[in-house]
């Protein structure tokens, strides 16, 4: 039970945060007509966040072996999440812009946390119940 | 020379500012292969005597010699090695390590001084398993001490004491928590140890246990006397 919660709840919470943050406090630059890199990164992050959230929800209803797979998927999604604003799409290059000063680091931190928690969950679930 | 030689051993405690001898001028010899039992009511200095033999409590006067070593003259390391290799100690209270499984508890004394003769891990495991089997607690190997009953813990501590094939086995109330059947198993095992050359020193107040012993002593207010008519 504890293992199941540990494998699912952090993923759900982090997924929700990844989906919500770019749309709220860690938003992209505002006030210009033509959407830029930040805007697309923001949209992509929200999408990835929803996927991670759903992986966490599914993990609540399945057995340990499937949970391992779900958490590996969550970790890979988190790598994708980090890659979006850094490599794949990027953000504005103005260092003091909100999207770069807040959204980018927020996504990186949330991504790293997702990877760490998914890693722990995989480790917990792959450990034999009784010591040999 | 006797394996265990106790000469004029005295331990003086102070209770309410009045000194009294918990152990008073005790002399005792135990040879290899001899099974000695000490009886007496609790509070009469039996455990203090045993703790002095094992070097856990310093005597006020007198000396203890084990296998040619004067206990009081040994350094901490030498004394520890003596406890580990030469003495097997079954305590009255529960002294298993709660963080280790039963099997690990029994094996630990064998790996404590790794520098001299290191047997194969498989051999050690096999030996520990064998001891636990003889004591009828083999199925508890993977359990932790808190999951065990008092009698089961006692039998595990006996297995632990025997792990390093001690020359001197000291047992403080080894049958204290045991039912009749277990008592017989334990006493039979102690007897076998004595028969195979181990000196066994047992403290007990269980009359059933006494018939396994070669010699019986009585401890009364710190004074040790040989009991006749055995």
């Amino acid at each position: 039970m504890t293992k199941k919660l540990f494998a699912a709840v952090p993923t759900i919470v982090l997924g929700a945060l990844i989906a919500i943050a770019p749309q709220t406090f860690a938003h992209a630059c505002q006030g210009h007509d033509v959407p830029g890199a930040c805007h697309y990164s923001q949209q992509a992050a929200t999408g990835i966040g929803i996927v991670i959230l759903l992986l966490g929800v599914i993990a609540l209803f399945v057995e340990a072996k499937v949970r391992i797979g779900l958490n590996i998927a969550a970790a890979l999604n988190a790598i994708l999440l980090i890659a979006v604003p850094t490599v794949l799409i990027g953000v504005c290059s103005g260092a003091m812009m909100h999207c770069r000063a807040v959204m980018l680091p927020t996504l990186i931190v949330l991504g790293v946390l997702t990877i760490v928690f998914a890693g722990i969950a995989v480790w917990l679930d792959s450990r034999p119940a009784k010591r040999s | 020379m006797a394996l265990l030689a106790i000469t004029d051993l005295t331990k003086c405690f102070t209770r309410r500012d009045k000194p009294f001898d918990a152990v008073s001028h005790v002399n005792l010899m135990v040879d290899a292969g001899e099974f000695v039992a000490i009886v007496g009511r609790s509070g009469n200095g039996k455990s203090t005597l045993i703790n002095m033999i094992a070097g856990l409590v310093r005597p006020t006067s007198g000396s203890v010699t084990i296998d040619g070593n004067v206990v009081a003259d040994l350094s901490d390391r030498e004394l520890s090695l003596l406890r580990n290799r030469t003495i097997g100690f079954v305590t009255q209270s529960q002294t298993l390590l709660s963080n280790l499984t039963v099997l690990d508890n029994v094996i630990l004394p064998a790996t404590m001084f790794p520098e001299d003769k290191a047997p194969e891990p498989e051999q050690l495991i096999a030996r520990a398993e064998n001891l636990l089997k003889q004591l009828g607690v083999a199925e508890l190997m993977e359990s932790y001490p808190r999951e065990l009953s008092g009698g089961e813990m006692r039998r595990v501590s006996i297995a632990r004491a025997l792990m390093n094939s001690p020359k001197l086995l000291i047992a403080d109330e080894p049958t204290g928590d045991l039912d009749q059947e277990s008592t017989d198993i334990v006493m039979q095992l102690l007897r076998e140890q004595a028969d195979s050359g181990t000196a066994v020193l047992m403290v007990t107040h269980d009359p059933d246990a006494l018939r396994y012993a070669d010699n019986v002593y009585r401890m009364d207010a710190g004074v040790l006397t040989e009991q006749t008519g055995q």
Binding site: C29, G31, H32, D33, V34, G36, C38, V91, C92, S93, G94, A95, M96, M97, C99, A101, V102, L104, P105, I108, V109 | S42, G43, S47, T48, N51, A54, L56, V57, R58, D76, R77, S80, L81, L82, R83, N84, R85, F89, T91, Q92, S93, Q94, T95, L96, L97, S98, N99, L100, D104, I107, L108, P109, T111, M112, P114, P121, L124, Y144, R160
Partner: protein, 403 residues
């Protein structure tokens, strides 16, 4: 895999998850605070030092009522435009006590394309400059031609090496190193380029200044005073040149840095106090937890003793347990602090309103080592009392007579 005295400490920690987690949590908080705090303090000091180097003038003369704007420009303010005319500036340069004088022109750009922010455009005179050149020289070893730009560290330079401003692409010849001050958001142009910039602005947006001023607008005169003069006396001399000069604004960069230095020192002092209090409290908690467990563990250590463990082995067990907790907690604390402090570096700098410049990797490595080592030392010291208590022979008397 066979149990021995080396593995015993780890089993002990594993089998007491609650106690281990509690101890770890304390150490994590301490190491996090120490590492985060020292990084913060170091970055502030680095930023401060850089700011002091960049404000290399004794006196700055600016138009009336703009002294505050000018100060903000140097520290953390937003881009502005203000100016006086060149003839005034030339007169100021002649005042008694002026050793060196150079003129600069400040123009605030508009945010044009997406992801562009307002830039501070600074026009300077390479011929007389003594403020920007020495700094620029570290990155750029040539002369800034008309129409070319030098960009501050935070300025968004496009891939082809230009900046789009007022519908024109301006070539950037060099991007400068970060200073932690507002200068990072500035672009530098030759003063003779200023009219072209004003003209360009007229085409696409509100003109930044009237056309007739474009060629003669000067925002400030930066002055180094001659030997034997103070910045204040030179300011008085300038005011005495002409009745209309009474209203000029005077900025003393030395004073700004002194003020900033004071607020920075206050912040660092509070930070130090906070961390010190935290560590004292943490040490008390650790010692308390370790010594409570010492009582509980008397029996455990007595039975190890009976099995033949030497006093050294018992000490090693305690030492290892506390060192493992200190090391793990220290590393975790540094990791958590790093996760916040490095990605959010520019946000922290912005919120602090103080010059903030990320320290170099070597210094950071040093601080990581320091934080982890402190955590290990504290946790080991916390267990010393336990070691001493269990080391006394009386501890084994608990086995007497079934007490």
């Amino acid at each position: 895999m066979l149990i021995d005295m080396n593995k015993l400490p780890f089993e002990n920690l594993k089998r007491k998850p609650l106690r281990t987690t509690a101890l770890l949590a304390v150490v994590v908080v301490l190491s996090l605070a120490l590492f985060g705090g020292s990084i913060l303090a170091t970055n502030l000091n680095t930023g401060m030092a850089s700011m002091e180097r960049r404000l290399g003038a004794d006196l700055m003369v600016v138009p009336q009522n703009t002294a505050q704007k000018a100060e903000a420009l140097l520290t953390d303010g937003s881009p502005t435009t203000f100016y006086l005319t060149k003839d005034v500036a030339d007169q100021i340069s002649q005042a008694d006590g002026v050793a060196q004088a150079t003129q600069q022109t400040y123009i605030s750009s508009l945010a044009a394309a997406c992801c562009d922010e307002k830039l501070q455009i600074i026009g300077y005179d390479p011929a007389t400059d003594f403020v920007i050149e020495p700094w620029v020289a570290e990155q750029f070893d040539g002369t800034l031609e008309d129409g070319q730009m030098l960009a501050g560290a935070n300025v968004n330079v496009s891939a082809d090496g230009t900046i789009e401003l007022y519908g024109r692409d301006w070539p950037v010849v060099a991007q400068l190193a970060s200073t932690g001050t507002n200068l990072d958001n500035s672009v530098f142009i030759n003063q003779t380029t200023v009219p072209a910039m004003v003209e360009a602005s007229a085409k696409v947006a509100t003109q930044v200044m009237p056309e007739e001023y474009a060629g003669k607008a000067v925002s400030s005169v930066l002055i180094n005073v001659a030997e034997g003069y103070t910045a204040e006396t030179v300011a008085t001399n300038i005011q005495n040149l002409d009745a209309s000069f009474k209203d000029l604004g005077f900025v003393y960069p030395g004073g700004i840095t002194a003020t900033t230095r004071t607020s920075l020192n206050t912040l660092v002092a509070y930070l130090t106090l906070f961390i010190a209090v935290l560590w004292v409290m943490g040490a008390i908690v650790l010692i308390a937890v370790f010594s409570t467990s010492a009582n509980e563990r008397k029996r455990e250590f007595a039975s190890l003793r009976i099995m033949g463990a030497t006093r050294g082995m018992l000490n090693t067990i305690i030492l290892k347990e506390s060192a493992v907790i200190g090391l793990t907690g220290g590393v975790l604390g540094v990791a958590v602090a790093s996760l916040v402090i490095f990605p959010f570096s520019s946000l922290i700098g912005r919120q602090l309103q103080l010059p903030y410049l990320q320290a170099g990797p070597l210094l950071i490595c040093g601080m990581i080592v320091l934080a982890v080592a402190s955590a290990v030392v504290l946790s080991v010291v916390g267990s010393l009392l336990t070691m001493w208590r269990l080391g006394r022979p009386e501890a084994y008397l608990t086995l007497r007579e079934g007490e």
